[in-house]
Symmetry: C2
Subunit: 352 residues, 2 copies
């Protein structure tokens, strides 16, 4: 039976985003998959969003791109008011905007659920989730939950991509690939070291945020001179298919609790195996020896890169299709919605 | 009859603030005056606040001074939850935190009122106050209302200071004074020009915010070399009494819609007249020819400065005592609270 579902997106980027914006991409994939499954979906998002769902255009343009610098907090306050004013029209409301709505959600009769898209290991979040411990939250990996074991986790729902977004690439060209932000915790330096030790070219597609500019200039730029290293700057969505798909492997030698790591499943969708360090969601996404290798140190990483041809690229694509499509993600969220609706729907707090 | 009143302060500074913080100073003066009048007052504020009221210490330390950089939005969310959880224990809740609570306030049975402490001429505020047009708001000057004529203004309540905070200074020394931030709209350059044209020394007590550093270095620093100009940096609260009180006049040649301008009433409390440009609240605070002069241009400003001795300093102090004490402010707020309580207390929005 179709459900009336509200999706509440951040207003910083449009849904889907014009450029970088992992959360907005996932909200878009989920929204379209739910519509395809026959649900009645309403998307609260910026007015330049594009969707098959009913769009409530909260603000004319996504805030990051608007030269008039709209006030994010004002527009998010306005969005939440619109959402809760119309709450009775939905069977479930799904938030992707952190925690600003928690006080309103616990006073609302319509079931609310929040997917946490960011890292949760920040000290201020402990008192927040202690006070709002009844708020249903979804993790995007099991590892993301670790700092907040007492929160009301309903499920882990891994991210998914539309099945046809990336094309299976049965054979690879002779290079490794690194895709991500040029920030210290992504460890492009490790990726360069691994590739050079194998004598294999490395192609790097990465944006440099303002915050990372000093790190990039001092730590990374000197490493880019090597003839085997090809830094192409930030790559567009439509370029990723071949950029990642033609690589022998995606190098993902991260050094932080990555909550999910979309690029890993982009690689798998292409049939490209992944070599990752066991931080954050890596061990949940990768099957060691099947879709790539999980390595603990430099030596293991280089050894894994040298034997990457033992990984069957068809297995990578198969793992993607079984576990990481938008349809799989949407079905898991529908399960979450149904179980929330099945609970007695009394607001935790009645009006005082 | 005593009322049960909640005061909800920003968490950035303590109440009162350790250093600069106009809003937190006013919240402190109001809170203490209400307690002195016999009301049962609860102050939601940072834990390093000092008050005779019941303090709810939302966060251990005021956020600006805490080296661990607490997340303002997380702690404000937590504060609002604490406020609305205990709403039924209060007769009225008075907010000083802009608009983040509006959605919760319109769903709350206890009357809520918000004092707007900042400038309101920002384009995003128009749709905000259109949507929340029933929310009772208090302006700190009539002029502050201009950009939002459709908001639910309950009253203008001018700021007030404790009667004994500043001492009457019957005679002046031979200097003018400028006190404020070193920002372009405060126009310290005009103050210097006026003083030099009168051949009277100017003492400047002003902080330079990070945002204003470039302006200060390029536009202001070159003007400070003159022997009649004495820039003493940022001055402490306890220094203001004599710094302002001994001056022949406070020069206030602003160039922006100043919502109130606390320093004007600090000067009046000392008996020091004020020469102001007619922006923002200036014409409401000053009585032209009685407590100073409101001037329209450079020529009028210089002429006014030259005849400042015609102003009776006792009239300045008298105007302060009649119109701008914390007690007067608190009495006006009590009137606002009583009229809100007298209205039928049904939340605008029942839970959907």
């Amino acid at each position: 039976m179709p459900m009336r579902i509200a999706q509440v997106a951040p207003l910083i980027e449009s849904v889907p985003p014009k450029a970088y914006g992992g959360t907005e991409r996932v909200v878009s994939y989920l929204t379209e998959a739910l519509v395809d499954m026959g649900h009645d979906v309403t998307l609260f998002a910026s007015g330049d969003s594009v969707t098959q769902a009913h769009l409530v255009p909260v603000v004319e343009r996504s805030i990051r791109l608007d030269p008039s610098h709209p006030d994010w907090l004002v527009w998010t306050t306005l969005m939440l008011e619109q959402v809760f004013e119309s709450a009775s029209r939905f069977d479930v409301i799904h938030f992707h905007v952190d925690h600003l709505h928690f006080s309103l959600a616990r006073r609302c009769k319509t079931p609310c659920v929040t997917t946490l898209h960011g890292r949760q290991d920040l000290p201020d979040l402990v008192p927040l989730y202690q006070r709002f411990r009844e708020q249903p939250v979804v993790s995007i990996s099991d590892s993301q939950r670790e700092p907040l074991p007492f929160a009301n986790w309903c499920a882990t729902v891994h991210h998914g991509l539309p099945e046809d977004l990336y094309r299976f690439h049965p054979t690879a060209q002779d290079y490794f690939v690194f895709v991500g932000r040029m920030s210290p915790e992504k460890r492009v330096d490790r990726a360069i070291d691994i590739a050079l030790n194998c004598g294999v070219p490395l192609r790097i597609g990465a944006k440099v945020d303002m915050a990372d500019r000093a790190y990039f200039e001092s730590q990374v730029r000197p490493l880019l001179d090597h003839p085997l290293v090809d830094y192409v700057g930030e790559i567009e969505e439509h370029q990723k298919n071949d950029f990642i798909g033609n690589a022998r492997a995606l190098l993902f030698p991260i050094d932080w609790p990555e909550p999910f790591g979309l690029v890993m499943i982009e690689a798998l969708a292409c049939g490209t195996p992944v070599i990752g360090y066991p931080c954050g969601a890596v061990t949940e996404v990768l099957e060691h020896g099947v879709t790539g290798y999980v390595v603990n140190d430099r030596q293991q990483a280089i050894a894994a890169a040298r034997r990457i041809d033992r990984i069957d690229r068809r297995e990578c694509r198969r793992a993607f299709e079984q576990r990481f499509t938008a349809r799989v993600m949407a079905e898991r969220y529908v399960d979450v919605y149904r179980s929330l609706i099945a609970r007695t729907c009394t607001p935790v707090l009645q009006e005082a």
